[in-house]
Amino acid sequence: MGKTSKDKRDIYYRLAKEEGWRARSAFKLLQINEEYNIFDGVLRAVDLCAAPGSWSQVLTKKLRQNSEAEDDVKIVAVDLQAMAPLPGVKQIQGDITKLSTANEIIKEFEGLKADLVVCDGAPDVTGLHDIDEYVQSQLLLAALNITTHVLKNGGVFVAKIFRGKDVTLLYSQLKQFFSFVTVSKPRSSRNSSIEAFVVCQNYQPPDGYVPTMANPLLDHKYCDFNEFTGPNRFIVPFNACGDLSAYDSDTSYSLLLEGQTTYEYREPVQAPINPPYKEILDKTKNIDIRK
């Protein structure tokens, strides 16, 4: 494959490099905001499963506009993995299923709660769709669980979701905590991709709900108002996000976009840090293990 073939294949991959985003997913959050104005008035935001950090980049850029005093804006990024530092973002390398992580976030906000929690985390996909969907839903529920500790009432939660066979179970669960739950697909997310984003607005936990990390939140089971198959399934409204004039992630564009006269290849903004396959790459640099 040529050096430019990824640039040709994916317009947002290329735009991300041109605009200095660490990943193309930055555009997804920007486009969700275009539709829902989720950044309005937000001073304290949490980015869960933040690595490589493109959503934190978006948050720093967008939230600064909400206050004259730069110090008022506080962004905390949490991830299990190490992430290259970002100015204006407090990083916590920790597990979102731990109470200590929730406490650390609150401490960073000086006792105040967050206005916005976002989570773009995805698991290591195995290729078996049901396991991948389940692990993704558990990641989302773990994110929701920590969110119940750190989000203010009325706050907003945005998270990646896989719209697989059991997604209605997650919808019904989210609806218990938020007045408005919609599912959105930014124009920068490919049509063929199973991923979408839930935008959960107006955090209102059920009466008497006490956040706890002692037990993980488990997803719901099928029931009368959310059947396994039948007319009564719990399906939330869908929205396509992003300007109609925005680039389309499925369309093949020329390297010379309309109005451009030159094209220059750019290296990715941030290379992966310590991937699990690193060892084997090092080991097999000089030998071929296929034999």
Partner: protein
């Protein structure tokens, strides 16, 4: 085949269990029971609901079995009976499915009516199976999400081994709060844990591509099946081994082996010291998800939907190897004879005969050659041996058929036509000799001399000699290969080729040519086998079979099914029907002298197939013998696509005797599969064609009763067109294909770059787009318009002409109307015109009048112009449209439905007057599916069938009345196929419809219509 068509499910096989001659396979939510001896499907049990099966756990007495997967488990009793002298089993579902509150990674029997299950949050649940009641839940301190786990019943507790996302394996006992130990070392997610406490062995596999073997680092005298042992012992990583090129999914510990399987389709056999014994490729490059083994066999289930049985002897008894010690001087060329003795041409100008029985050279024939440049060839029956030198000295020997094997000299002569450059047998009676200036002489024996049968003239080329020769059964027609990869066809009496097939194989030329049954089959060093049709003396290119090794040398059987060659330094024997490598020998490569034979021999009471290879290495004669029964894996269930199927069309033969599935997928293959029930249900890929990239769409056009035009397109802007004929030859259903067009919009890599290397190649600014969908519209007799919807928003038109003796394909215009990627197209007849609908990622739906505006005489006018316009355009869905269907209701009315990424189905009714919309009614339903709607089909009685990534198939009904258009829910069912990409209606009656949904696999099921 009886009507209705039975249920078919083909998808990832995620669980397997061996019981002697019986194997259980978890295919979707169905447990399948197969007999290993007859390969027959004995029983299917719908064990779980809407959930794949991940494990079969029999009780110790083998009277009950847990079938679990996801959050569910069910229990069946096992009834054993005898079929003749063979033990067979039958499953009787007894309990469940019971739905737990969390994902189950492992389940074990703890008591007769009690089981323990490990959940994805590291909780051990104990269930009473007779009361179907949860007894206890033991939470571990560490409740992060697990990717794998293993439970081991101890005498006094249950041992839990939990594979975390943090690369650690945490070991704890169910009754203890504190973990006992962690196994640290992996650098990725733990995908599986196997444990054999008797052997004190733990094996883990991981995302990091490694397998780790763990054992005790301290000596503990208490037995390993007690909690006390695990409280005192410490385990550490004994061996960290690498054998897979991708993630390692599962492992299994047998009496003396560790077996691992991976995403790279490889099965590795290890000893307990981590030494690799054997590596086997098993599932067509698809991931292997499941495995189980007993003393004799290993069974694996894969992502290609196949179930494969491997004899365990492959690990330790892979062939017998020997260096044949005989005084053979310095051997140069070696060949097997008919009776599998060996003829050896040595450097001392001698031909020697090595008797395999006696293990010695029994004859030495001194040759009187002048030149050291020698040619040697064996006739196709291997009885005749011809040896010649460049100067023209020719000797022909024959091996005796009966009695003591000896070599008899038949011919000793001197050819007088200049330098001999090549010599090949064509069949058993003709020797084809090529000399200077392209003179080809065909010789036959006459007494102890030779006579010239005919002369041919080889067209000018560099290195002007032959690489292979073949003859037809009537000895009239010859086909020869030259050093430029061309195949020339000659007829006796004509000097010049009657036909030349250009560049059939690469620059080394064809390696073998076989002519039979009106066809030519050639092999080459470009990794392909090519088929040509010779009917009525016209030569038609039919198909190419791509093999995964470069150097394809020759067939070892009479049915052209077993082929051998070299993959770099390794000798390979390959089974074409089963698409599997039978034998691999790292002998050093194909440039040495070597030969191979295949034969059947009796072993005790059975017959088995053998492959014998001889080769020269360091001037020594090596021999390797392989008993295939000991080393060759066998399909119990045939595989098909290894990744998602993007497009599929079924083809039910008129008498409903068989069903064909034509499918293209992400694995870049186009497959034609046959399903029939003659000898029990069987599904196999009859033909496989490769594209350069993923195949997004296939469309067919019926030419004749059982003859279709097949057009496929997809990534890398590639369109391929074939004619496919479904044939019944001697009660065997086959697919014959003729490849007509292989076209890339931007040309092939070679056409684009020429001979430049990648460095000197400039950057091409235009992307190579994907063809998302395609339509074939008949314009005239033998004339078609092909419309391709492309990812660069352009609608491309092509003109295709097809007749018996010629076909042509050329671009006929580009329409730049849409602004974003066109995802789907649909054609239908309206007002006796062909109407095309195009749908985009922005929810736009455009209607085009093909007959009046786009067909060939009009196209010229439109080429590269932007003024072609649809007669109607509307926007339905909020984002991309992934499915469309439309039909004419009357001369003025059209109904169409679109389904999209927004999980909505839009149904629209439109009244047209002279192709102007005069009335429109529409409705939207967004609660039939919770994910992308990928398939839509209209059926009679206003019914709509829809399907989605959410794995539901919904039947709904639309109605048009005074209040407008409504669409109401009728019924819904679940499909086991993940990532559904579409639905195809196979046949429809007034009561039901048989449909095929496809995605990661396929399912054929019946949908009942409302009364």
């Amino acid at each position: 085949m009886s009507v209705p068509i039975p249920h078919i499910i083909k998808t990832d096989i995620t669980a397997v269990k061996l019981f002697g001659n019986i194997v259980l396979a978890g295919i979707g939510s169905w447990a399948h029971v197969y007999d290993l001896v007859s390969n027959k499907l004995l029983q299917t049990v719908h064990a779980l609901r809407g959930q794949k099966i991940y494990g079969f756990i029999p009780s110790k007495d083998e009277r009950n079995i847990i079938i679990f997967g996801g959050k569910q488990f069910s229990i069946a009793s096992i009834d054993w009976s005898f079929d003749g002298d063979r033990k067979v089993l039958r499953l009787n579902p007894r309990v469940g499915p019971i739905i737990c509150d969390d994902w189950l990674h492992a389940v074990v029997w703890t008591k007769e009516e009690e089981i323990a299950a490990l959940t994805a949050h590291n909780v051990v649940q104990v269930w009473n199976t007779s009361q179907e009641r949860l007894i206890t839940s033991s939470h571990s301190k560490d409740n992060s999400i697990l990717y794998s786990g293993c439970l081991v019943p101890l005498d006094d507790d249950v041992l839990v081994l939990a594979g975390t996302v943090f690369t650690d394996v945490i070991i704890h006992a169910c009754s203890e709060a504190e973990p006992l130990m962690s196994l640290k070392g992996h650098r990725g997610v733990i995908f599986s844990i196997s444990c054999d406490i008797q052997k004190q062995l733990i094996v883990t596999t991981s995302d990091d591509r490694s397998i780790r073997i763990w054992g005790p680092s301290t000596t503990v005298t208490t037995p390993a099946n007690t909690k006390e042992y695990w409280k005192t012992v410490a385990y550490d990583s004994k061996y960290e081994v690498y054998g897979h090129t991708a993630r390692v999914m599962r492992s299994y510990i047998t009496d003396d082996l560790i077996i691992s399987v991976g995403e790279d389709s490889v099965v590795c056999f290890w000893d307990f010291q981590g030494n690799i014994l054997k590596k086997n490729m098993a599932h067509q490059n698809g991931c292997i998800w499941s495995l189980d083994a007993d003393r004799n066999n290993l069974v694996t289930g894969g992502g290609d939907s196949s179930l494969v049985l491997h004899p365990l002897t492959v690990a330790k008894e892979y062939g017998e190897h020997e260096i044949l010690h005989a005084d053979v001087g310095n051997p140069k060329k070696i060949y097997f004879t008919t009776r599998r003795n060996i003829v050896i041409l040595n450097e001392r100008d001698e031909l020697q005969f090595y008797d395999v029985e006696l293990k010695s050279v029994t004859e030495t024939h001194k040759l009187a050659h002048e030149s050291t440049y020698k040619l040697m060839s064996l006739s196709s029956c291997k009885q005749f041996v011809a040896v010649a030198d460049m100067a023209g000295n020719l000797d022909v020997f024959a091996e005796t058929c009966k009695g003591e094997p000896t070599l008899r000299k038949l011919v000793n002569t001197k050819l007088k036509f200049g330098k001999i450059l090549s010599m090949h047998w064509a069949g058993n009676r003709h020797l084809v000799v090529c000399s200077d200036n392209g003179n080809i002489t065909v010789l036959a024996s006459k007494g102890n001399e030779v006579e010239t049968v005919t002369n041919f003239f080889l067209p000018q080329s560099k290195e002007r000699w032959l690489t292979a020769a073949g003859i037809d059964s009537k000895s009239r027609l010859f086909a020869v290969g030259d050093r430029c990869g061309n195949v020339h066809i000659y007829i006796i009496g004509k000097n010049n080729p009657v036909k030349t097939l250009n560049k059939v194989h690469g620059r080394y030329g064809p390696t073998s040519i076989t002519i039979k049954n009106n066809g030519i089959i050639t092999t080459g060093r470009d990794g392909t086998i090519k088929h040509f049709d010779l009917t009525n003396d016209t030569v038609k290119y039919m198909k190419s079979i791509d093999l995964n090794f470069e150097w394809v040398e020759k067939f070892l059987d009479k049915n052209e099914n077993i082929v051998c060659g070299f993959q770099e330094r390794v000798f390979v024997v390959y089974d074409i029907t089963n698409r599997s490598k039978l034998v691999e020998v790292p002998c050093g490569g194909g440039h040495r002298s070597w030969d191979a034979v295949r034969y059947i021999e009796q072993i005790q009471d059975n017959y088995d197939e053998f492959i014998k290879l001889i080769y020269l290495k360091n001037s020594e004669l090596h021999e390797s013998i392989f008993q295939l029964g000991k080393i060759v894996s066998r399909n119990i269930v045939n595989g098909s696509h290894t990744k998602e199927i993007n497009c599929l069309q079924s083809h039910l033969l008129e008498d409903k005797s068989a069903m064909y599935f034509i499918s293209g997928g992400e694995d870049t293959t186009l497959r034609i599969s046959i399903y029939n029930t003659e000898n029990g249900p069987s599904f196999h890929d009859s033909a496989i064609f490769k594209h350069l990239s993923s195949i997004r769409t296939v469309k067919t056009f019926n030419l004749d009763n059982n003859k279709i035009l097949l057009v496929s397109a997809g990534g890398r802007a590639q369109i391929c067109i074939k004619v496919i004929e479904f044939k019944d030859i001697e009660n065997k259903l086959t697919v014959e294909s003729e490849e007509l067009v292989d076209y890339q919009v931007k040309g092939t890599d070679k056409e684009r770059k020429g001979n430049q290397n990648w460095k000197s190649c400039g950057v091409d600014f235009d992307p190579e787009m994907r063809m998302m969908d395609i339509e074939v519209i008949k314009v005239d007799h033998g004339k078609f318009l092909i419309v391709a919807a492309c990812s660069d928003a352009i609608l491309r038109l092509y003109e295709f002409e097809y007749s018996d003796n010629k076909n042509s394909f050329k671009p006929a215009g580009e329409i730049k109307y849409h602004k974003t990627c066109i995802l789907k197209t649909k054609t239908f007849r309206f007002q006796d015109k062909d109407i095309l609908i195009t749908c985009t990622t922005r929810g736009q739906v455009a209607f085009w009048n093909v007959t009046d505006n786009l067909t060939s005489n009009k196209i010229e006018h439109h080429i590269n112009s932007n003024d072609a316009k649809p007669f109607y355009m509307t926007t339905t869905n909020k984002s991309g449209i992934n499915s469309i269907n439309a039909k004419e209701l009357s001369k003025e009315e059209v109904i169409f439905a679109t389904g999209g990424d927004d999980n909505a189905i839009h149904v629209n009714y439109i009244k047209f007057k002279e192709f102007k919309c005069v009335e429109k009614q529409g409705t939207k339903v967004d609660n039939f599916h919770c994910s992308e709607v990928t398939g839509l089909s209209f059926m009679d009685r206003n019914l709509i069938l829809s399907t989605s990534i959410d794995q539901r198939i919904t039947l709904s009904k639309y109605e048009i009345n005074d209040d407008g258009l409504t669409c109401n829910f009728v019924s819904q069912r679940y499909s086991d196929v993940p990532d559904i990409q579409g639905i195809d209606v196979i046949c429809e009656t007034s009561d039901n419809a048989t449909v095929c949904v496809f995605g990661k696999g396929l399912e054929v099921l019946n949908v009942d219509k409302p009364r």
